[in-house]
């Protein structure tokens, strides 16, 4: 009897192997031939159209792609090719809107790895301080979003740009305020300071004189 069990078991093993393997094969077959394909030929094809974007472009490898400057919120933002599919809260590279920045330093203080460097001066005719330096080191940023969360004026925000790959590190350190503008502002602030000092001195002088006459 034992020998029959052994033979039975042998054939059962074969039967089970064949059926279960063919079951797996059937699922693979079904997925491969009858289900919708989800492969997206990302850089060369348009995602929505499913066609090559520009034949002349897709054939030529762009050896040193220009790293588009990030512009302010009100201005036109670089739109990545996946732009239409990215959700609203997408965390891309950080963007900066200079006119609304008040240099409160909250973003710099809330960054765990000191990615952001801000300096500001007080100038007449604008609320808060005016930034003279705003530097983001994209090579260090870990996209945690703590700076965006605390910004009171939404001056720092996430863009939808994610294609930040470059050939050199230094291109990833971005100054958002040009040296010229920075210098102008520093001079303005210096003049304002000097004016204030003169005023103060005059005041003191007049106060002294008045006290002298008394």
């Amino acid at each position: 009897m034992k020998i029959f069990d052994g033979i039975k078991g042998y054939f059962r093993n074969i039967y089970e192997s064949v059926t279960t393997v063919s079951m797996g094969m059937w699922i693979t077959f079904k997925t491969a031939f009858f289900e919708r394909k989800v492969t997206l030929q990302y850089p060369s094809h348009d995602i929505l159209e499913g066609k090559p974007k520009d034949a002349s472009l897709s054939n030529k490898p762009n050896l040193n792609p220009p790293f588009e400057p990030l512009l302010g919120a009100g201005q036109q933002i670089y739109k990545g090719p996946l732009n239409t599919q990215l959700p609203e809260r997408y965390r891309g590279l950080l963007g900066y809107d200079e006119p609304s920045c008040i240099s409160c330093l909250l973003c710099a203080l809330n960054c765990p790895i000191d990615v952001i460097r801000v300096k500001g001066v007080k100038i007449e005719g604008r609320k808060g301080k005016v930034p003279t330096t705003f530097r983001i080191d994209y090579s260090k940023c870990m996209f945690c979003g703590l700076c965006v969360e605390v910004c009171p004026t939404d001056a720092i925000f996430f863009t939808r740009q994610f294609e930040g790959a470059t050939f050199e590190y230094r291109t990833l350190i971005r100054e958002f305020i040009s040296p010229k503008l920075s210098l102008e502002r520093l001079q303005l602030a210096e003049e304002a300071k000097a004016k204030a000092r003169e005023k103060k001195e005059e005041k003191e002088k007049s106060a002294r004189e008045t006290s002298h006459t008394e």
């Binding site: 393997v21 809330n110 969360e149």
Partner: protein, 371 residues
């Protein structure tokens, strides 16, 4: 003259497809049989515990994402609960439900990776592509929720960073409707596959006593027959209100504590996670999602240890505060580390190919081992 063979020292890793990260095993082999197997860890040590002492409490949250990158939400949750208990911060009910929802969703995708890579290590490459396809959908949902696909940094002290977007729960239910039949398909595809079963049943058995001795946690512990799940036995957040079963390994699927049972427990856990998420969707209350405080967080002096159930088992945070803006010491206890320690005992005596099965079934993630 008796036939003798010399034993050979073999380095497995640090770069080996089966080690899921950077791990090294020093093997002393006699032919195909392993005589000694010593895991050499530390290749991914980033000093997270030291970083925690140098940044304010809230700034350590993005670092917990990197603790276990496959289950960032669960790590966020563990750390948030630790600091909340220490500093006595209240969490709105809606936030609690959102937290449980995202944590279970993350458990599903973490187990999907585990199941997929396990099958891939055993030579079946197709299941991996299938599991990753499902994971993409969840990643899209997370991206919509918090803007990121892997390192979420979503949970904050006193709530969560964003409210659920419009129509999120509908899209989530649609995913669950899609996912449940897929899970059954996996069972037909790999779990019930004769070759897969023959390969794994009875391989690298961890007995109940061994599992206790080496302090295994999570699915690995439950696969060895111990009914212990922190979500049920020490409920945190709103797990106390959820109805779910804790799958425990038994003899009905192979041998107790073998590779196949560890795999099967994960499959069953995904089903339970789907159940919990459905309850969260049904019960989701209205209200505030973040009890946000404008003040700088200061934790009163003292010590606290909080453990939560992450996909890889207990994730414990031991926080020592001296009342400042930063922790005095933060010790992190992870499931992968204790799983790593048992490899030396169970690994000796196995074949080299079975060691791959053992590591894959323990579901070790290298950054979590080294921290």
């Amino acid at each position: 003259m008796p036939l003798t063979t010399e034993t050979m020292i073999l380095n497995m890793g640090p770069h080996h497809p089966s080690t899921h990260g950077v791990l090294r095993f020093i093997l002393r082999t006699d032919g195909e049989v392993i005589h000694m197997c010593r895991p050499d860890i530390g290749y991914l040590h980033r000093g997270l515990e030291k970083i925690a002492e140098q940044v304010p409490y809230a700034h350590f949250m993005p670092y917990t994402d990197r603790l276990d990158y496959l289950a960032a939400m669960n790590c966020n949750l563990g750390y948030a609960i630790t600091v909340e208990r220490a500093a006595d911060i209240e969490v709105p009910l809606r936030a609690e439900y959102i937290r449980v929802l995202v944590a279970e969703l993350n458990r599903i995708i973490s187990h999907l990776i585990s199941v997929g890579t396990f099958a891939m290590d055993m030579g079946a490459v197709t299941p991996f592509t299938h599991t990753l396809r499902e994971r993409e959908w969840v990643n899209d949902l997370f991206e919509e929720l918090c803007g990121s696909r892997l390192t979420y940094n979503y949970i904050r002290f006193g709530g969560v960073a964003f409210d659920l977007p419009d129509g999120f729960l509908d899209r989530l239910s649609r995913f669950l409707d899609y996912f449940e039949p897929r899970l059954k398909q996996y069972n037909r595809f790999i779990s019930k596959n004769k070759i897969f079963k023959e390969r794994l049943i009875g391989v690298a058995v961890i007995s109940t006593q061994q599992a206790l001795d080496y302090a295994l946690v999570g699915p690995n512990l439950r696969a060895s027959g111990i009914d212990w799940d922190l979500r049920r036995d020490e409920p945190y957040s709103v797990y106390g209100e959820m109805e779910f079963d804790v799958p425990v390994g038994g003899s009905e699927f192979g041998e107790l504590g073998d590779c196949y049972t560890r795999y099967w427990v994960r499959i069953l856990e995904m089903e339970q996670s789907v159940r919990i998420i459905r309850q969260c969707i049904a019960k989701m209350p209205e209200g505030s999602y973040w009890n946000r405080s404008k003040k700088k967080l200061k934790v009163p002096a003292g010590e606290i240890y909080v453990r939560t159930e992450a996909p890889r088992g207990e994730l414990g945070f031991f926080l020592v505060s001296q009342g400042g803006l930063r922790p005095h010491r933060l010790r992190i206890r992870t499931g992968s580390f204790s799983a790593m320690s048992i490899v030396e005992e169970v690994g000796s005596g196995l074949m080299v190919a079975d060691l791959v099965a053992l590591i894959a079934s323990l579901d070790v993630v290298a950054p979590e081992v080294d921290r």
